[in-house]
Assembly symmetry: C2
Homo-oligomer: 196 residues x 2
DNA sequence: AAACGTACTTACTTAGTAGTAAGTAAGCAA
DNA sequence: TTGCTTACTTACTACTAAGTAAGTACGTTT
């Protein structure tokens, strides 16, 4: 009848990746198993191994997809047409989305704690993701400061690292306590970077 | 010959707690086992269960000890005699110690990611620890601002939460990348709070 | 109709997990 | 010397983990 992609029910491969990411963000990489995924999707654990032979493959796929999403998002006209301070607001919106999406943590915040127990390939992918994200934000901050709409001291890269670190930590704080803690930190950041 | 406590070789109970904390900070709570501890201390896993019947007991003991250490440290004349800005520097030194001690993360940064998988008692203890730490820092910040030696906007509690969050995140950043990332963020914090 | 690829299931192995029950050796106390 | 406590070890249970090998049902290609 229709050859449109099934947006409502993605294929198993994608459903595995979606659920694995959700479990990763809510429990950590070492605290979810192929059985958790299998039970939820009503398939057998071996079906997960068919799509992602090892847990390392699955973990790498999650981070790589996030990197692809970042690249795509970063190049979207909807974003590139915005002014620097608006791009910064757009990034803030992403983190607010994390908070409201019951996920309450970003990939970095989820993987950094158990970083040393992760397979080498995952460590490398996570390093790339954070470098790319820092790079993007540093560019936005630099352009914003040049235009006089974003305020900060020091090097753009240093400030970008500090802001991302604070955002990641704020999401963790929301998980341990509640949303108010996150908003306090969040508004403080906004106040410092986007005066008046 | 001597009834002094054996400072060089603490008793097994303490050695278990020390090693468990080290493993917790370097690998996360779900990624170390009684076997890891037992092998390292050259005892059997059941010996660990003798001292800490469940892993929950062990986890709670780690956080409680840290809380006791904080209370003691906070009340030390060596600290209370200092000016607010010196107390802030002393707190910074603690985090620099974490970084150099190859631990590279604080208890909050280690446990927040897998928070939802932790036993209820551990969640509660961690909440208390962060509240007490935030409370202490908020007091220092408030006194420092009143004395004109520490600069920040907004409520002391909000700023304290932001600073602790950033420090925790900076230690995670050091683990994923390297020490330079930590120092960049660290110096930015210092610059903002302790001008000239 | 035969062969093939996709997407699984069934059934298994190996290894590790927390936790327990029972026993033991050494030291102190009555 | 008998009994009790401390600090373990030995030997186990029950369970979960990741991963694999072989088989199957189904749709497409040849």
């Amino acid at each position: 009848m229709s050859n449109q992609p099934q947006v409502l029910v993605p294929d198993t491969r994608t459903r595995i990746l979606d659920l694995a990411q959700q479990l990763l963000l809510s429990r950590g990489f070492n605290a979810f198993s192929y059985q958790h995924i299998a039970k939820e999707l009503a398939v057998k654990p071996a079906a997960i191994h068919y799509h992602y032979p090892t847990k390392e493959d699955l973990g790498v796929a999650i981070i790589q997809r996030q990197r692809r999403r970042l690249h795509k998002w970063r190049g979207l006209p909807r974003l590139t047409d915005l002014l620097p301070q608006q791009q910064l607001e757009a990034l803030f919106e992403v983190y607010l989305g994390h908070l409201q999406n019951e996920q309450r943590v970003c990939l970095f915040g989820s993987l950094a704690a158990e970083f040393r127990t992760l397979p080498e390939a995952m460590q490398q992918e996570l390093r790339l993701l954070t470098l790319e994200l820092t790079d993007f934000l540093a560019g936005v901050l630099e352009a914003g400061r040049a235009a006089g709409t974003i305020a900060f001291k020091g090097q753009p890269t240093a400030k970008a690292a500090q802001v991302l670190t604070t955002l990641a930590g704020a999401l963790q704080m929301a998980r341990v306590h509640d949303e108010r803690q996150f908003h306090m930190i969040f508004e403080q950041l906004r106040l410092e970077l986007l005066p008046e």
